[in-house]
Amino acid sequence: MNKHMQTSSIERSTVGKGIAHDSAKKHVAGQAIYIDDMAELPGTLHAALVVSTIAHGIIKSIDAADALAMQGVHLFLTAKDIPGHNDIAPIMSGEPLFADKKIEHLGQPIGVIAADNIELAVKAAHAVKVEYEVLEPVLDVETAHERKEYVLPPQELIQGDVDAALKDAAHVFEGRLEIGGQDHFYLETQIAYTVPGEDDDMLVYSSTQHPTEVQHHVAHVLGNLANSVDVKVRRMGGGFGGKESQATIIASAAALVSHKTRKPVKLRLKRALDMTATGKRHDMVSKWRVGVDANGKILGMYVEYLARAGYSADLTGPVITRAITHTDNAYFVPNARIVGHACKTNTVSNTAFRGFGGPQGVITSEAIIDQIARELNLAPNDVRAINYYAPDNGEVTPYGQQVEQNQLVPVTEALLASADWDRRRTEIDRHNATNPVIRKGLAMMPVKFGISFNLPSLNQAGALVHVYQDGSVHLNHGGTEMGQGLFMKVAQVVAEVFQIDVDRVKITETQTGKVPNTSATAASTGSDLNGMAAFNAASAIKSRMLGVAAKHFQTDETDVTFKDNQVHAKGQSIPFSELAKLSWAHRVSLSEAGYYATPKIHWDAKTLKGRPFFYFTYGAAVAEVAIDTMTGESRCLRADILQDCGESLNPAIDLGQIEGAFVQGMGWLTCEELWWDKAGRLRTIGPSTYKIPGSRDVPPEFNVSLLNNASNIEETIFRSKAVGEPPLMLAISVYLALKDAIGSNKDRNFDLKTPATPENILSSLSGSANR
């Protein structure tokens, strides 16, 4: 019955409006409750993780006597105390909650200690003595690759015949790019609060993007069934991918203590430990050989990624898949061989981070374009233009998906015009001709980003909608709120279906007991999936209410309309609430579990071929920078962005996502540097040494727009498009503008590592980074 309801055929009353975040008023009043703000139940214990202090070795002994002797310290648990399985791997297996014998990275959890308060627990954790047999750690991807130490087999995508294409090419260029990692630096560190119940039940409040995974792993670790664990998430203080698989470590450790003590347990990581013990964006090295014709048109490319998986697989497999499937970015590559290696290092296991491999793929693609332009002395935008996927002529990506609703030309041309490219290009060249110290740079780049989880089975969602007899609505779905505005967007969808005010829709915490078997709120799919599931639930209830209304008005269902909190037919009206009451009186169900599965997608994980993405989003950015050639310092002076959000569900929220993603991407590429010492100890474990963008580090002139008239050709929720990740990659324009500034006195291509810190910019300027 629902499939006939075209989502775009409903008149828009709430959808498309820039309504504030669902908790905006609570946030500004300090009334929004994060897990650490919850009133603690009597008897609550505070837990702390005991972690390894070496990167690689064997545990010889663990002595917690001194720690347990402290007044107020209650118990210490290790791998041997786990009643179920000591494994929290999100995809594979063999990723222990607590290291049993083998230590594989510094900061690896060995056990958990519980005390009366957090300060005491942390102190006690430091008092646990662990003796190790120390082994030599592998700390970089090149060494791991040489030794063939991987956490997964390589992934390889082959399209056409690269060797032949390169043989026939007018020019072949080789390159290598070191791409830095990134800490999520969510403001709220990882936290869980676990409350044991009757039988062996466990209620888990977790700051997680993936409540279902927390549920399954807590059950698994405790040796219980999934139905004994209920996970609740009202909000996170930021996630960015860092709370997709990593939250299970914290929740499982807390639940283990609750299980043993039958007491509520809170486990909150302090910032330094959060940065040490939880995974990050994969740093990668990409290497390529690209063959082009005399005009710079790409004939074929060979690309290899060495990704730092860290000690275990975690989500590295699909991260590499997404890097591989975004190596084309906006450009038609008729012949390609793209290989990704999941290099095993003795560092923390890297994980999801906004973009999920896409950023590493796109920056590689753009570095290749930039190299072609520099080597052939062409304007980079001209090289881009001749390589864009042609508009809707059936060109396919290297992984076999047709590029549909191609917006590359409209987006980039509109942006170049609104950003006043031609004038500024001339001015900047003139500036650079007469200013040897402060050099300026300007660059434009597009992003084409595939929307859907690469793995088709993850592209499903559920929602639960109730209408009460007073006409108020209860909304629940599998998506989680981490600040991205998902809860409001989905509430707008439901309000739109019933044509009621959005404040009549009660937004409720995500809960595995209400909507089961959910996917992570990730891959930018939150509103696509959960919005559609909620739409289906609300539409089913509405169609039943229509029947009641038709009877009431003694007319056909087609005569009945819902509008302005009222139900109308034949010139008469009753309030929506009265129809709700009538429906109850007629014994018509006002509750529905909605479900949605993304259509059209399929994927062969062996050959890396198929149609992994329901659709593409398109965006472009122009960035202007200045560098001080004496110090290597840089500033982004201006950024202009045009992003395709389809028919935006909420333009205010989408603009906020774009601005935030761009700045986060700038951080990744310019100032956020992860630095390990030779012993494998991460030395950048707080805001004093790990620099995320501050209020002065963002472009003072920042023009962000949504593409107009861009209704999604696919039947997404109200024809909108996803927005969470794609604009992060637009910050690659800043990297390219830095290259433009550095390159203003260079004849040929040159390397610039990311993050482009002052040190790395100076290396590029002095030529020491050149091949």
Binding site: H21, V28, D36, D37, Y186, G237, F240, E659, V663, S688
Partner: protein
Amino acid sequence: MAKVSLTVNGKNVEKDVEDRTLLVQFLREDVNLTGAHIGCDTSQCGACVVHVDGKAVKSCTMLAAQASGCEVTTIEGLSGGGDLHPVQAAFREHHGLQCGFCTPGMIMAATDIIKRHGTKLDEATVRAELEGNICRCTGYHNIVKAILDAASKMDGAAKVAAE
């Protein structure tokens, strides 16, 4: 143990606390005001900013004992019992928040900036003085807009009040 006696949001509070108790811990755990958040533990992120005797202070840099005898205002008390303070209203109106974790500290810092600069407040000053408050979500654009708008509205309100 230290005896701490201070005013929090206009109410007298007297407690015995451990000497090393930080003001932020005291507010969150002893006074049950959880609007000030702990983001970094190292006095850099600004999520815990409150006003002590009218000045913005990172409440994790100060011991509760040091605040004894002071008047402390937290995000919960900023509006003085009214609906929303103009800075709070501006953050909501301009979408100057996403996950909201940094928001209370941002607003308390912003209120202090506006108070000190009054009509002379410009964007460069806001950006410079907001450096001690980290936001990971918004890119600061809407936060800066909200602060400038609040400043101009408060200035207008002050002028009306003076007339």
